[in-house]
Amino acid sequence: MAALKSNILRLLVVFLVLAACAAAARAYVTIVEDSAFDDRQMRPQVSFEHNEHNEKAGIESCNTCHHFYENGEKRKNSDSVGMECSSCHYKAESGELELIRIYHKQCKSCHLQKEQGPVQCGQCHRKTGENP
C-alpha cells in the first residue's frame, strides 16, 4: 500500500516536472503567432523575444498583458497565461480587425507612453524578421 502511494507520488512529480517544462518551452515565445491569423497573414510576423522583452521593459506582472477580467473589472491577482489573446478577443463572424486593434493597442500604447519600443508598422512587422 505504501509502495503504491509513493509510486503515485513519483508519477505525480514526473508529471508536474514535464508540465513545467512544457510551459517553459511554450513561454519561450520569439514571435507572436496568434492562430486566429493562421489563414490570413497579410504582414510579416512580429518578432517578440517574450522573456527578454519583458525583462528589458521591466514588466513585473504577467497580467499586464495576460490580463483577466471579472464582472468588467481587471483582477489584480489573476491572469490568463496560456490563453491566446484571440480566445477572448476574436469572433470569426466580426472579422479580424478587432483582434488587430487590441494587439496594437496593448503593444503600442505602452511603447508610446514609455517612449521606447516600436510604433510604426514596419518596425514591428519586419520584412527581414528582425527588429531594428
Binding site: L97, Q116, Q120, K127
Partner: protein
C-alpha cells in the same frame, strides 16, 4: 521619434481635418455669395436635371466628345483618380489606425492591391509631369504652382510606398508620409485641388446653361 510620431499622428491629423473641412465650407460659402452678387441669374436657371445630365456625361469614361478626342489622357485621368481616392480610404493601415484611435472601421484592401494602386498613382503623377513638360501648349500654360501641386499630391503616395516596402530610412519615410498627407489635405481647399469639390458645380453650371438656356449638349 516617439514625440514626432505622436504629434504627426495625433494633433496634426485633427488640425488637417479641421482646416480641410472648414476651408471647404468657407470657400464654398464665399463662392456662393460672390456668384449671388455678380451673376444672380445662376441660381435662377439652375436645373438639377440638366446639371446631373452633364455631370454624368463627364464622370463616365468616354461619354463626352472631348474624352473621345483624347483617349490616352482620359484613360490615365480616370484610372489615376480612381486609385487616388480609393487607396487612402481603404488602405489597411489607415483603417487599422482609425480603428485604434476612434473605434469602428470598415472593409480594407489587401496590402498587395493597395500597393499596386499606389504605384499607379505615382506613375500617373509622372505622366502628368511629362505631359506638362513635353507638350508645348501645356508647358506654356503651366506655372510653378502646377508643378508644386503635382509634388504635393505625389508625396504621400511615394512616402507611403517607401514606408510599406521598408526601404532604408523607412521610419523617417513614415513620418514624412503623415506630414505630407496632412499637407495635401490642407492644400485641397486653397488650391486648384479644389476641383474635387467644384467639379459637380462647374459641370452643373455648364449643364444648366447649355441644357436649359441653349437647348444644347455640353459633352
Amino acid at each position: 521619434m516617439h514625440a514626432i510620431y505622436e504629434l504627426a499622428g495625433g494633433f496634426l491629423v485633427w488640425a488637417a481635418l479641421v482646416i480641410f473641412a472648414g476651408g471647404t465650407v468657407i470657400r464654398m460659402a464665399w463662392l456662393a455669395a460672390t456668384a449671388r452678387k455678380k451673376d444672380a441669374a445662376v441660381f435662377h436657371y439652375f436645373s438639377f436635371y440638366y446639371a446631373l445630365r452633364s455631370i454624368l456625361h463627364w464622370i463616365v469614361p468616354f461619354a463626352s466628345r472631348n474624352m473621345r478626342l483624347h483617349p490616352v489622357m482620359t484613360a490615365v485621368t480616370f484610372i489615376f483618380h480612381l486609385c487616388l481616392i480609393i487607396t487612402p480610404i481603404f488602405a489597411a493601415a489607415h483603417v487599422i489606425l482609425i480603428a485604434e484611435s476612434w473605434g469602428g472601421g470598415w472593409w480594407y484592401l489587401p496590402d498587395a492591391a493597395a500597393d499596386i494602386m499606389t504605384l499607379t498613382v505615382i506613375l500617373g503623377c509622372v505622366f502628368f509631369l511629362i505631359r506638362r513638360i513635353s507638350k508645348k501648349d501645356v508647358r506654356y500654360l503651366s506655372t510653378a504652382g502646377d508643378y508644386i501641386l503635382l509634388v504635393i499630391v505625389a508625396a504621400p503616395f511615394l512616402s507611403g510606398y517607401w514606408s510599406y516596402h521598408q526601404w532604408s530610412g523607412f521610419e523617417i519615410a513614415g513620418i514624412v508620409h503623415m506630414l505630407s498627407g496632412e499637407l495635401l489635405l490642407i492644400c485641397i481647399p486653397f488650391t486648384r485641388l479644389f476641383h474635387m469639390i467644384l467639379f459637380p458645380f462647374t459641370r452643373g453650371y455648364a449643364g444648366s446653361e447649355f441644357g436649359g438656356m441653349r437647348s444644347a449638349r455640353d459633352w
